[in-house]
């Protein structure tokens, strides 16, 4: 079966500014594709191009195996939820949801049935006779979802649908969207600049920067094997520690030396026979630097480190120190003995470490 969405070498210019460059993405039925990237990187533009709301400068676009490059939005069999929700302000919630069906001339009985089904699903029945102006942010968000869901399209497009909600509601709606996706088995493209949203929702993540795709992969791939320094830094919270280091080869493998102020360098041994250049940047997730006392003994290497700051965060305690001239965060046990200004024995787990070439920022291992 052909992919639900296939974007082939898409380019988009506004006048002489290139906003999207050589975008290649495809998703299968039931995929939840999340587009992430910093503000202004072209996420909304890409979504608008997929929807047909913006003409594309180059490339092709297939939806459900059909070339949709020059097809108008209404014939693409898509539904879209906008960042601002874009509810029709003079229509009631019910009219908002059924407008699309009305325009397409679907009979009243079907409209009513679908409206009932969707409003039950989203628990908005009590709101059906209100105008959008009389709804809270979360309620509007649901109505916007409802408007998309009644369509039952091949592809759902979401443009930062949760960004206007407060933190708590955002987490709730995130879970609901995930549940909805699993229940419907629908195919979705979802834009966000919140990397936690991306990790939790996606079956596939596209990380973008400056209109160029940096990496495409499952959340685990993106998290564990970032393709370059940008992705490594962008995905994960707290961010991956990116520490400059020097390498030396000897019989047992490669020695990795991390310089420190006022102390001997930390030397870690990379036993896998990777062929690393002399200068590298090593990427270690905070959770791979732990209390030596709590470490799983096998594959870790230990060192005493001077702790600068301790940040208890409930389930964990984050400790910040200086390594290789960078702030490095370690994720310690909640009951750690670490204290600011004292030395603590930490264990480094190199099992999932990433190596990057400083000049290009590309991944080495």
């Amino acid at each position: 079966m052909s992919p639900i969405l296939e974007v082939k070498n898409l380019y988009k210019n506004y006048g002489s500014t290139e906003v999207l460059k050589d975008i290649i993405v495809s998703i299968e039925k039931g995929d939840f594709l999340v587009l992430v990237g910093p503000s202004g990187c072209g996420k909304s533009t890409l979504l608008n191009c997929i929807a047909g709301l913006e003409p594309i400068t180059g490339g092709d676009l297939f939806i459900g195996g059909q070339n949709m490059t020059n097809v108008s939005p209404k014939d693409r069999d898509i539904a879209m939820v906008f960042q601002s929700y874009a509810l029709y302000p003079t229509m009631t919630v019910a009219k908002n949801i059924t407008f699309g069906m009305k325009v397409r001339g679907i009979d009243q009985a079907t409209q009513d049935a679908k409206l009932k089904h969707v409003s039950t699903q989203l628990q908005i029945e009590p709101l059906l006779h209100r105008k959008p102006g009389q709804l809270s942010g979360g309620q509007r968000q649901r109505v916007a979802m409802g408007r998309a869901l009644v369509r039952d399209p091949k592809l759902f497009l979401f443009d930062e649908p949760l960004s206007n909600l407060d933190a708590k509601l955002r987490v709730e709606m995130r879970t609901e969207i995930k549940a909805l996706h699993q229940r419907l088995g629908a195919s979705m493209v979802y834009v966000t600049h919140d990397q936690i949203e991306a990790m939790t929702l996606a079956t596939k993540i596209v990380v973008m920067k400056g209109g160029v795709i940096q990496q495409i992969g499952t959340p685990a791939e993106i998290y564990n094997r970032p393709a370059n320094l940008f992705v490594a830094d962008f995905m994960g919270s707290p961010a991956m520690n990116l520490i400059p280091a020097k390498t030396k080869k000897n019989g047992k493998g490669t020695q990795i030396e991390i310089a420190r102020n006022n102390a001997d360098p930390i030397v870690l041994t990379e036993k896998r026979s990777t062929d690393l250049p002399e200068n590298i940047i090593i990427g270690v997730r905070p959770e791979d630097i732990v209390d030596a006392a709590f470490a799983r003994t096998d594959d870790t290497q230990q060192a005493d480190c001077m702790i600068d700051i301790v940040e208890p965060a409930g389930a964990d305690t984050f400790a910040v120190m200086q390594l290789g001239g960078k702030h490095v965060t370690a994720r310690l046990h909640a009951e750690t003995t670490a204290a600011a200004g004292t030395s603590q024995r930490l264990a480094f787990d190199l099992g999932k470490v990433s190596y990057f070439k400083p000049e290009t920022g590309l991944r080495l291992n």
Partner: protein
């Protein structure tokens, strides 16, 4: 005054405040009087008989109220050689103003919708040119317009005058609607496009219901302009098609016999009534529309 936890530093004593208030109201009343005086004189004069006007005082109330002058002004005052009052011309003005207001408002709304929401190549230049049209003085277009009307074969007719007013008003109505519609988020249009609605459907179902306040603005503006217009009326009309402003001028200026001030005044009030009415009726909707129509969604 026990709870004075927060007070501005420079408070005025209650008496000073009262005095200032009083002075303010006196001033406002004086201004109001100043502006209402001519209307007062017009109304009282129109209700007096000619004798009373000749003998009496300009600002005094009529000793004996008579509607003769109004009757004359409406149906038998002379505008040159004809003596039919302002009635036929009043009718002409209605026949010109109503279609011209409607057409220019509808086209202006469509123009504004296109310029604000359907950015096409050259949209800005198109809009700038339209705006420029607002600032061309009437006198400049007289001659070219006369030629165009001649070519179209509608010079001297009521459709001709409607045409002139529609063309001249389009710049303004487009401006009104464009400025109103640019504040409506373009995502609304996009959402409707995905819902399957086309150009006119979006205009009709999404934009029109939001537009009451600006329609009222456009109607008030256009109606006042067109009803009060004299220059186009006098330039592009002929015997049977003159608007009421031209007729009023003719009544006042026809100098056969004694000057009938009461008739002149009554005719002037009649000519001004529709614009007053539009303000009174639509002004209310204007305020209501402004407060009710919230674009937030």
């Amino acid at each position: 005054m026990t709870d004075m936890s927060y007070a501005p530093t420079r408070t005025q004593s209650p008496t000073t405040k009262l005095v200032l208030r009083f002075v303010l109201y006196i001033l406002l009343a004086l201004f109001a009087l100043f502006y209402l005086m001519p209307l007062f004189v017009m109304i009282t004069t129109s209700l007096k008989s000619l004798d009373e006007i000749r003998t009496g005082d300009l600002v005094s109330l009529p000793r004996e109220v008579t509607f003769d002058a109004w009757r004359t002004a409406w149906s038998s005052a002379c505008t040159g050689i004809q003596c039919e009052g302002v009635r036929p011309y009043f009718l002409n003005s209605l026949l010109i103003a109503i279609p011209a207001v409607l057409i220019s408002t509808i086209i202006g709304a469509l123009n504004g919708y296109v310029v604000a929401q359907w950015k096409f190549k050259g949209a800005n230049i198109f809009f700038a040119l339209l705006l420029f049209g607002c600032f061309i003085p009437f006198q400049v277009v007289l001659l070219p317009m006369a030629i165009v009307l001649g070519k179209l074969g509608i010079s001297g007719t009521i459709p001709g005058l409607i045409f002139v007013h529609v063309i001249y008003g389009l710049g303004f109505t487009t401006l009104f609607f464009r400025n109103y519609y640019v504040s409506i988020p373009s995502e609304l249009t996009k959402a409707a496009m995905i819902d399957g609605a086309g150009f006119f459907r979006i205009f009709w179902s999404i934009f029109m219901p939001l537009s009451l306040p600006i329609i009222v603005v456009s109607v008030i503006w256009q109606f006042t302009q067109i009803w009060n217009d004299f220059l186009f009326g006098v330039s592009f009309s002929q015997a049977g098609t003159q608007p009421v402003t031209v007729a009023l001028n003719n009544i006042v200026n026809s100098t056969t016999g004694v000057k009938e001030y009461n008739v002149d005044m009554a005719a002037a009030i009649i000519a001004a009534l529709p614009t007053l009415l539009v303000y009174v009726v639509a002004g209310k909707y204007f305020i209501r529309g402004l407060t009710a129509g919230s674009v937030k969604g």
